[in-house]
Structure formats: structure tokens, C-alpha cells
């Protein structure tokens, strides 16, 4: 799939659609902000996200909608903050995520007012954001997708929202959260090594290492909304800033263990995929065994 931002067109081997056709299908309200995001878009617009998105990825469509209209929006999945529905005829089956403007602007205000301080517990920073109740994961996902997005409707309001949103302040909060998390994991690694629980120690070390990579990405103003993207973004970061390359080398030792070459790793992953499917099927279909 190709996203051509200048020509405002999305092309795949199955369809080709321009941004206006997407809007014709969505029929947004006059005050809606509509933007496109997800891995394919992110991979197109950010150098640190290069390689994201593949033939199985879809384009996510996001709408920020005034509360009164948001409340009336029909959806398959619904919460106070976000509603999701599906349009089969669009982009070969598109997910449409609608966010309440009340949530978005309340998040913006909370971030703007927030003062970074050692006294404030991270868990309480977002307690006044309407509808999310400190759901850091949801806030991170929302901000990640807004940060790496392309607006297709109401450009001025979109630009004003983005320029007024303190993305960097959120990343500082994320920094603090990751620091605390890593500091909790390291004694766990040490303790398990001491009692000979090597497998537990290895698992915890891998978790801590990924968090450390995420921490560095965040310190470079790079959002990460899913753990799976950490190695890809970190590798791209190392290509741009070689001072981090030694950390990539150690990542290969820790995560590939004997499968350092791309070819070996490919074979192991392919074999693991088959094993996962087989193990699942063996359990799910055990009643069929002869």
C-alpha cells in the first residue's frame, strides 16, 4: 500500500482512493476533525517509523467530534471517550475511531496545566481528564496517533489542536513512568539471578531492556504506542544517531540469542509461528484426536 500525501491518495493492489472520497463516505459533521493514522501512515511520515506497516496493515480513520454529536454517534464499541465502528466499503474495510472533543480538550488542558514535580504521582496526573480515569495506555495511544497523522478535514482546527497539545510534557511523564518501572525490574533480575531462576531473570531483563529502549526513544521525542515497535524505532534511531548503536548490539545478544543473522532469525520466527498455531490447535481441537 502506498500513501501519497501530496496527491492525497491511498493506493493498494485492491483499491485506490483519494481523501475526498473517504470524506464522502464518512459524511463528517461541520466541526469534526478527521485524520488518518496507524502504522502505514506513521511509516510514511516519520523517519524513525520507517518500515512500519505491511500488506496486512490497515489505515485507521480518526474523528474528533463535539460531545453532543459524539453521544449520538452509533458504534459497535462504545465508551465515554471513544466509539468505534466499521465501514466495510471504505479502504477495504476501515475502522473508524471517534473521540469525544470533551476528552481531547480536557486532556489538552490537563497537560498544559501540569507541572512536572517529584511530588505528583504519575497515576494521578490524568485523574481530571474526562472519561479516561488515568488510563495512561489510552492517552498514549491517542497522542501517538494524533502526533503521527495526516489531517483530511478541518485542517485549521487540527493544526491548532496539535500545536496546543503538550506532546513533550506527556513524554516527560512517560519518561518518569518508564524510569520507575525499570528501577523496579532491575532488582527483580538481580534477585532471580541470585536464586538461580535464570529463565525468570532473562524474561525480566528483556522486559527491562525494552523499557530502557523505549525510555531513550521517549527522551528523543519519539512516541511508542505498542511494545512491538520499540526495536524497529530504536534501530531507525541508531541509523540517525550512532551514539546509541552499542545498545542495539546488546539488544541483538539479549533477544536473538544464537539467531543474530537476519536469515537465522527469520527461520526461527517462521518455525515459532507454526508452533504457536499448532499448539493452539492441539488444545482447541483435542476432542477430535483419534
Amino acid at each position: 500500500m502506498i500513501v501519497d500525501i501530496n496527491s492525497k491518495i491511498i493506493m493498494s493492489d485492491k483499491y485506490s482512493i483519494n481523501f475526498d472520497d473517504i470524506l464522502n463516505e464518512l459524511k463528517p459533521f461541520p466541526n469534526d476533525i478527521v485524520y488518518l493514522g496507524g502504522s502505514l501512515i506513521e511509516g510514511t511520515i516519520s523517519v524513525y517509523s520507517e518500515g512500519m506497516g505491511n500488506c496486512y496493515s490497515d489505515i485507521d480513520v480518526f474523528i474528533i467530534r463535539e460531545k453532543s454529536e459524539f453521544d449520538k454517534t452509533e458504534a459497535v464499541y462504545s465508551s465515554a471517550t471513544r466509539k468505534t465502528y466499521f465501514v466495510d466499503s471504505l479502504l477495504n474495510g476501515a475502522d473508524i475511531e471517534v473521540y469525544s472533543s470533551e476528552f481531547v480538550y480536557s486532556l489538552k488542558n490537563v497537560l498544559n496545566r501540569h507541572k512536572i514535580s517529584a511530588d505528583v504521582r504519575i497515576a494521578n496526573v490524568f485523574e481530571n481528564v474526562k472519561g479516561v480515569e488515568n488510563d495512561l495506555f489510552l492517552i498514549n495511544t491517542f497522542l501517538n496517533r494524533l502526533y503521527y497523522s495526516i489531517c483530511i478535514y478541518n485542517h485549521e482546527t487540527y493544526s491548532s489542536l496539535k500545536s496546543g497539545m503538550s506532546f513533550r510534557k506527556f513524554l516527560k511523564i512517560k519518561d518518569a513512568e518508564l524510569t520507575a518501572s525499570i528501577e523496579n525490574l532491575i532488582p527483580d533480575v538481580k534477585g532471580n539471578l541470585e536464586v538461580g531462576q535464570i529463565d525468570v531473570a532473562l524474561y525480566c531483563m528483556r522486559e527491562a531492556y525494552l523499557k530502557m529502549m523505549n525510555f531513550i526513544l521517549v527522551s528523543e521525542d519519539i512516541f511508542v504506542d505498542r511494545t512491538k515497535w520499540i526495536p524497529l524505532k530504536f534501530k531507525n534511531l541508531c541509523n540517525e544517531k550512532s551514539r546509541y548503536s552499542y545498545l542495539w548490539d546488546e539488544y541483538l545478544q539479549l533477544f536473538r540469542l544464537g539467531t543474530e543473522s537476519e536469515k537465522e532469525c527469520y527461520a526461527v520466527v517462521e518455525s515459532n509461528m507454526a508452533t504457536v498455531k499448532k499448539a493452539m490447535e492441539d488444545v482447541l481441537m483435542k476432542g477430535l484426536a483419534l
Binding site: A274, K277, E281, M285, L288, A289, L290
Partner: protein
């Protein structure tokens, strides 16, 4: 004709899934609904099971005495799986 299920293997990442009470055989570009017997045969692909054992076990599981009839149906189903790129043979039939 094959005489053991281990002479067959799945092709194109074919998978067997169950939704509610219905089984589905999912291959690269196709999806087929299967009954429990079809799913049982699909599940047996690649396993060290003689065709005669498969048929006699199906016969006793479903309390149906016509083992030769079952054998004919099992072979037909295997042919169907091969024709639809869901299974392949390790040695010529």
C-alpha cells in the same frame, strides 16, 4: 492411495478453527465449512495413523458399521483437501 496420515501434510498454512459448533478449514485464499468428521480427518493430517485405524476409530466413534463406506469417504475428503491446496502428499498416490 496413501495408507498412513503421516504421508500427508498441511499446505499453505492451513488451519482448523471452531466457531460455535461449526468447524472451518482456513487456507491461504479459501475457507471451507466442515463437519466434525471432516475436521477430525483434517486434524489427523501428518499424524502417524494408518488409514484403516482412522476408519475403524471413526466407525466406533460414530457407531456406523460400514467401514468400507467410511474409507471411501475419507479418501474422497483427502482428495478434496489436495485439490483445494489444503493438503499435499509426501509420496505419489
Amino acid at each position: 492411495m496413501i495408507d498412513n496420515m503421516n504421508q500427508l501434510s498441511r499446505k499453505n498454512d492451513a488451519q482448523l478453527r471452531k466457531l460455535d459448533e461449526t468447524y472451518y478449514i482456513i487456507a491461504k485464499n479459501s475457507c471451507f465449512e466442515a463437519n466434525e468428521i471432516g475436521a477430525t480427518i483434517m486434524n489427523a493430517i501428518g499424524k502417524d495413523l494408518h488409514i484403516d485405524d482412522v476408519c475403524s476409530k471413526l466407525s466406533s466413534r460414530y457407531e456406523y458399521d460400514d467401514v468400507e463406506g467410511i474409507k471411501s469417504d475419507v479418501y474422497s475428503f483427502i482428495e478434496f483437501l489436495i485439490e483445494n491446496d489444503i493438503a499435499e502428499l509426501h509420496k505419489p498416490m
